[in-house]
Amino acid sequence: MKMIWAIIRPEYSQKVIDALEKIGISAMTRLHATGHGAEMGITAGLVNYSEIPKEMLMLVLSDIDAAHAVKIISTTAKTWQKENSGHGAVGDGKIFVTYVEDAYTIRTAECRGTGADPPGKTGNTV
């Protein structure tokens, strides 16, 4: 199981969400974030804007789905520019993938992953 944290442009988030939904991935968490990358933000004259608004998407998927999702996000969130023959632009974002050992559904107290059943499953309240 993999956890994907994708930092993308806010104006592209709906496009990415729609594209993921098209391949059947609809469960995700969205949060606002600000930040900058290796370019240290945007400098306009003497002013440096280092906290550029971004959107963060968090998805937890099986290994196979995660590979698909990364491909979809990286192609959809990319800004297409004629000058650089579609290589995207600085600030398009990053995708981070980490391992998830267990995933619990609170409603059913079910566990998917390596862990055994949680203590709440049999009705005891720990």
Partner: protein
């Protein structure tokens, strides 16, 4: 060391906080997030349990224009217009804990947040390599206490 990421209902936050305090959980990070699960942010009317779901209160400030208002999910039969998928306001809890504390924390999280309705949330457990206390540069397990 493990990182526990729990996504829970907004109205359960206070209850969860006091429950976690009882089992001596030291540090928690809270985040306002919007999200949806496999139901795409809609509550299927047929699956509502007999007692009904806990009421949702008001409209969340983080919801945007294109998000479905929370009140739309209160009606058992939403109109076609309201049935479009939306992102619902949730709270994300991040707890970093020792391996041995993970099981009790998850037990408490499930016991306090379980209502039996869709939208109760998810808990993810991820491996964590290290923790560093910024104040004095302490590393590893001692940085958590």
């Amino acid at each position: 060391m493990k990182k526990i990421i729990a996504i829970i209902r907004n109205e359960k936050v206070e209850e969860t906080k006091s429950a976690l305090r009882k089992i001596d959980v030291k540090g928690i990070t809270f985040l306002h997030v919007t999200g949806r699960g496999l139901q795409k942010g809609m509550i299927p009317s047929r699956r509502l349990p007999a007692g009904g779901c806990p009421p949702y209160i008001g409209r969340h400030p983080l919801l945007r224009q294109d998000d479905v208002p929370v009140s739309a999910h209160l009606t058992n039969r939403p109109t076609e217009n309201e049935r479009k998928p939306g992102f619902l306001p949730k709270r994300m809890l991040i707890i970093v804990a020792n391996d041995s504390d993970v099981k009790p924390i998850i037990g408490v999280l499930i016991a306090t947040n379980r209502t039996g309705c869709h939208g109760d949330g998810k808990i993810f457990v991820c491996p964590m390599i290290s923790a560093i206390r910024v104040r004095n540069g302490e590393q590893g397990d001692s940085a958590l206490v």
